[in-house]
């Protein structure tokens, strides 16, 4: 086992993300409550779905003119990116089948990114530790948003909604070390922005993830050391 791969290091490395997850959770809770969701519905959603993109998409569709099947489809589409992420992480999960299935449930964007070593392999315990730190933050954040009815404006005025893009941007700086990687990242950014004009952000994220398929082309290979 990699000595750097511990539950504690996963939780520690996700500290910045945990704060942003909490803030986003407050926003979601306030937004859900404002859209007529009950406190129980908002809390159950945060506990069992644990995805900002899917949950925010649900608020948009469920409380618009959309029907339940449309909302189900939108929410599921927002989560489709977990499919390639699961395929990438699965070979590095250990233990019995049941344990691996349980561990696979720790796959969420931030933890996936923190668990990646950069050479295509993944740190299992870092993945779990990072998720175990963020999950309660997301639920507690939702509870605070629901209960206190925190004004979304207060969060944006303080600039706290910048934590997420700033955090992902910084991780990108650390992850995109060579030219082909930077080119793929730039392509993913362009694809995301273009698609966000016509589809929900969660679907655009799936397309962003799929730009990694460029790695099959010889030009995108890692430069020789």
């Amino acid at each position: 086992m990699n000595p750097d791969d511990t539950y504690r290091s996963g939780a520690r490395r996700s500290a910045g993300l945990t704060v942003s997850t909490f803030v986003l959770g407050v926003s979601f809770g306030a937004l859900a409550r404002g859209s007529g969701w009950t406190a129980a519905e908002a809390l159950i959603a945060s506990t069992v779905i644990f995805s900002a993109s899917a949950q925010l998409a649900l608020i948009g569709v469920l409380d618009g003119p959309g029907s339940a099947p449309a909302a189900l489809l939108t929410g599921a589409a927002a989560l489709l990116r977990w499919l390639p992420m699961s395929l990438a992480v699965a070979p590095f999960l250990t233990g019995s089948r049941f344990r691996r299935i349980l561990t696979s449930q720790a796959i969420v964007d931030g933890s996936f990114v923190l668990a990646a070593t950069g050479d295509g392999s993944f740190r299992e315990r870092t993945l779990v530790g990072a998720t175990l730190a963020q999950w309660p933050a997301w639920i507690i954040g939702t509870a605070v948003g629901v209960a206190a009815g925190v004004n979304h404006t207060a969060i944006t005025t303080a600039g706290l909604d910048a934590i997420a893009p700033a955090f992902f941007g910084c991780l990108l700086v650390d992850a995109a070390r060579d030219k082909p990687t930077r080119a793929v990242a730039a392509g993913a950014a362009v694809v995301t922005v273009g698609l966000m004009l016509v589809v929900p952000p969660g679907v655009a994220l799936l397309a962003a993830a799929l730009t990694a398929l460029a790695g099959l082309h010889p030009l995108a290979r890692e430069p020789q050391q």
Binding site: G120, A162, I163, F168, V184, V193, A209, L213, G215
Partner: protein, 102 residues
């Protein structure tokens, strides 16, 4: 009730998607260098997408200029090899400052 059913439905789909990778028959990491490269590119590609999604403005502007400025400031700070926390603080302050000015 409908809302709750949709919530549980989406959560079930999510849980299945997370576990689907375990259906691979062969054990161990993929050996093909191309697929290993795809796996390693998945992280930066997803991160680039996440940055763009999280600077997406709700309502008024398609891209929130204050969030974009905050993200850019944080990235620049990180490029100067500053600690992550400092870069995040710079990002938050920049966003708040731009919103104050706009």
């Amino acid at each position: 009730m409908t809302r709750l059913l949709v919530i549980v439905g989406v959560a079930t789909v999510g849980a299945l998607l997370k576990a689907v990778g375990l259906l691979r028959r062969t054990d161990g990491p993929p050996q093909h260098p191309g697929w290993r490269r795809v796996a390693s590119l998945l992280t930066p590609a997803l991160l680039a997408g996440l940055v763009m999604v999280s600077v997406h403005g709700r309502g008024t502007a398609f891209i929130d200029p204050a969030l974009l400025a905050g993200a850019a400031a944080a990235v620049s700070t990180r490029l100067l090899r500053a600690p992550l926390l400092l870069a995040l603080i710079v990002g938050v302050i920049t966003t708040a400052a731009v919103r104050l000015l706009l």
